[in-house]
């Protein structure tokens, strides 16, 4: 019998496989699709410290892993530039720990294409970007994990020492009793414009969109790829299941992007797509034991790539009954069981 079966071969499942295999476990992954082709491929791959234990710990883990990653994983320590539009947002920027504050002049030196009239910003220098499908494949190869193309309809039928459900937004279908809701996002990518943008650019208002419960919201979030291409996001929608582009949302998302980075209006977009985040009510992932031999590593909303490595460490510690690198209580699924 396999020690651990992981359902879902996205970045979270792959990171769990990597961690458990390092500890000596035999691991098999089940996924109906190509590894890393779901939200892992749809997302930006922004490795971002959001001032909480899990994301900070995970970004550090990415830095430790980076020298081993293949070149094609395009790990790039470009940093995040949080944009403050006005004095109130500048106050917010000042409250962020571990950032380098920029006044307006420094902001435009750093990113000359931002619209005029902004107050300043804060650079989180430790933040980075990664091309997550390649990182996923690499983690699976390192784990020497068996990956089987198979759709799972019932988690309870799987014979293994431990079963990890790492199915992201699909968790809503497999375990409907959990408070996980798919949250649709749109992205666009441009042709190559090397040097146009130097940092991952995010408006401070992004957190309101990400952490809020609004049925539909957009926020400015632009990422330069090492190729010179620009990823343009972001949107969040509940209660939509279709994968098609929603033109009104794309319109809102791009309009917001043009407001802060007017040069984008004339950049050629070569592709647009959508994906689904796994959203929990408190926007904190579900990591830990659920019942029987079943464990969860899901509900990462927009932070699955960032926190995959930390998630794997916490869950592996629990399965292997070892000391946890972070206090595991905030992530335990039981917080939603009444």
């Amino acid at each position: 019998m396999t020690d651990v079966v992981i359902v879902g071969a996205g970045i979270v499942g792959a990171a769990c496989a990597y961690e458990l295999a390092q500890a000596g476990a035999t691991v098999e992954l089940l996924d109906p699709n190509i590894p890393g082709s779901g939200a892992t491929a749809a997302g930006m791959g922004h490795l971002v410290d959001l001032d909480d234990d899990l994301s900070r710990y995970s970004v550090n883990l990415w830095h430790q892993l980076a020298p081993q990653l293949p070149k094609q994983a395009e790990f790039w320590n470009c940093g995040t530039l949080w944009i403050a539009a006005n004095d109130a947002e500048m106050e917010e920027a000042r409250r962020k720990p571990g950032v380098e504050l920029l006044d307006a002049k420094q902001l435009y030196e750093a990113e000359p294409h931002l619209r005029p009239g902004l107050a300043g910003g804060a650079v989180a220098k430790g933040d980075a970007v990664v091309y997550a499908p390649v990182a996923t494949r690499w983690l699976l190869e390192q784990a020497k994990a068996k990956v089987t193309r198979r759709a799972v309809t019932s988690l309870d039928e799987i014979q293994a020492g431990a079963v990890i459900c790492a199915t992201g937004a699909m968790t809503a279908k497999l375990l409907p009793e959990l408070p996980i809701r798919p949250r649709k996002g749109h992205l666009a990518i441009t042709d190559r414009y090397p040097g146009l943008v130097q940092h991952q650019l995010v408006e401070l208002g992004y957190m309101t969109s990400a952490q809020g419960e609004s049925n539909e919201s957009v926020a400015f979030n632009v990422q330069p790829r090492p190729t010179g291409q620009l990823l343009i996001g972001s949107s969040r929608q509940y209660n939509v299941e279709t994968t098609e582009i929603d033109p009104p949302i794309l319109d809102r998302m791009l309009t917001r992007a043009f407001e802060l980075l007017p040069v984008l209006r004339d950049c050629n977009v070569i592709r647009t797509w959508t994906g689904f985040r796994a959203s929990t009510p408190d926007k904190i992932p579900l990591i830990g034991h659920l019942r029987g031999n079943l464990y969860l590593a899901t509900g990462h909303e927009g932070l699955g790539v960032t926190t995959s490595l930390g998630t794997a460490k916490i869950l592996a510690a629990e399965i292997l009954r070892r000391p946890s690198p972070l206090p595991p209580a905030p992530y335990r699924p039981e917080r939603f069981q009444t």
């Binding site: 984008l264 950049c267 647009t272």
Partner: protein
């Protein structure tokens, strides 16, 4: 938003033939500056009828049911009926050296020469397959090029029976031959390598040339039909005897329904069915020799946009997997060049199409629901994309 009874996409022979018989309010859209398509390029033998609105240099990047076309630079255009006369593009096939600067698509070089590229006294080898090679050679020779030869990969034994079966095509073929007097036409011959101005043929012969023009046949432009949900069979749009696709109100004419050339395009554009046997026989006569599939070496590029080699592609059984791991097909051409290559080399299924069909300035996607504001004065232009 402008509303028409009929929108014709493509102003080549099929589109112009359709425009001539279309009634009501008609718009004719093409991404070239002049009507005529690839065959008539700028010198159409059917003029744009006076009652037709002609929109040159216009790109359609999305088509929605009902029908709404999203265009650059005219924004959305509505039409009750669509006629897709979107033509075909050249099939490129990778061999060592195919990405060197003086290697051209045969049709591409023909177009460049027609629009003024100097070619006088330059040594040109034309290689690949199909009747297009002869037409290209004729154009280039007329412009003063020194055509060192035409290398046709198909064997003579398949070309002659084809010509004999279609005597109506014979005068055309003879006229072309006459205009190419003195130009060698080698059958069962292809380029195995091109390097530093030297082309090596499969018979071992080497030729010193200034330009190599290659064309291995044509790939139909079916993206808009696919976006609208029209059924395809073996890569071609399925139509009934009136040219209607499986989507009511969407018609298709010319190469997208089967590669057949000018006569077929003219017939179908005018709403008349064309002899399907000719399309099949043409495809068979010039079917690619599988030996061509082995020409690419491990280091030969397959995806030019993202510089992905054959060796990098080979581990993958599916295009989606290769795209995610190598970016093959993820560049600005959106897989139009490498898709037909990988389909043949690796058996990958082409992926579904989605908007935008062509790279478009982001502002056009932000106004998909409302017409874009008129271009007022100077816009802040993005720097040119880096290739």
């Amino acid at each position: 938003m402008k509303h028409y009874d009929v929108a014709i996409l493509g102003a080549g022979p099929a589109g112009l033939a359709a425009a001539r018989v279309a009634t009501g309010t008609v718009v004719l859209i093409d991404d070239n500056p002049q009507p005529g398509g690839q065959i008539w390029r700028g010198a159409p033998q059917i003029p744009v009828p006076a009652h037709v609105d002609f929109l040159p240099q216009t790109k359609v990047f999305d088509a929605q049911p009902g029908f709404t076309l999203q265009t650059v630079p005219h924004g959305p255009i509505r039409a009750a009926k669509l006629i897709l006369a979107t033509g075909a593009r050249e099939l490129f096939f990778p061999f060592p050296g195919w990405t060197e600067p003086n290697v051209f698509g045969a049709g591409g070089l023909q177009a460049l020469v027609k629009s003024g590229k100097p070619i006088q006294n330059q040594r040109v080898l034309i290689a690949g397959s199909g009747p297009l090679l002869l037409a290209v050679a004729a154009t280039l020779k007329k412009a003063g090029a020194n055509i060192v030869g035409i290398a046709e990969q198909a064997p003579l034994g398949r070309i002659v029976p084809f010509l004999l079966r279609y005597p109506a095509k014979l005068p055309q073929a003879i006229a072309l031959r006459a205009s190419l007097l003195g130009v060698p036409y080698w059958t069962n011959t292809w380029v195995t390598r091109f390097s530093n101005g030297t082309a090596t043929l499969n018979n071992g012969r080497t030729l010193n040339i200034d330009h190599l023009a290659t064309g291995f046949g044509l790939v139909p432009n079916t993206e808009i039909a696919q976006l609208l949900g029209c059924r395809l069979d073996d890569g071609f749009v399925v139509v009934d005897s009136h040219g209607q696709t499986t989507v009511p109100g969407v018609y298709c004419a010319g190469e997208p329904t089967g590669i057949g050339g000018l006569d077929k395009a003219l017939a179908e554009g005018a709403g008349q069915p064309y002899n399907g046997a000719f399309v099949r026989d043409l495809a068979q006569a010039f079917a690619l020799n599988p030996a061509l599939y082995d020409l690419a070496e491990p280091a030969t590029l397959i995806c030019r946009c993202e510089t992905v080699t054959k060796a990098e592609c080979q581990p993958y059984r599916e295009w989606r997997d290769a795209k995610l791991q190598t970016r093959c097909g993820m560049g600005a051409c959106q897989g139009r060049l490498c898709g037909p290559i990988t389909q043949r080399l690796f058996g990958w299924t082409p992926s579904s199409v989605r908007p935008p069909l062509v790279p478009v300035p982001a502002r056009y996607l932000a106004t998909a629901q409302t017409p874009p504001a008129p271009e007022s004065g100077r816009s802040e232009n993005a720097p040119p994309a880096h290739r």
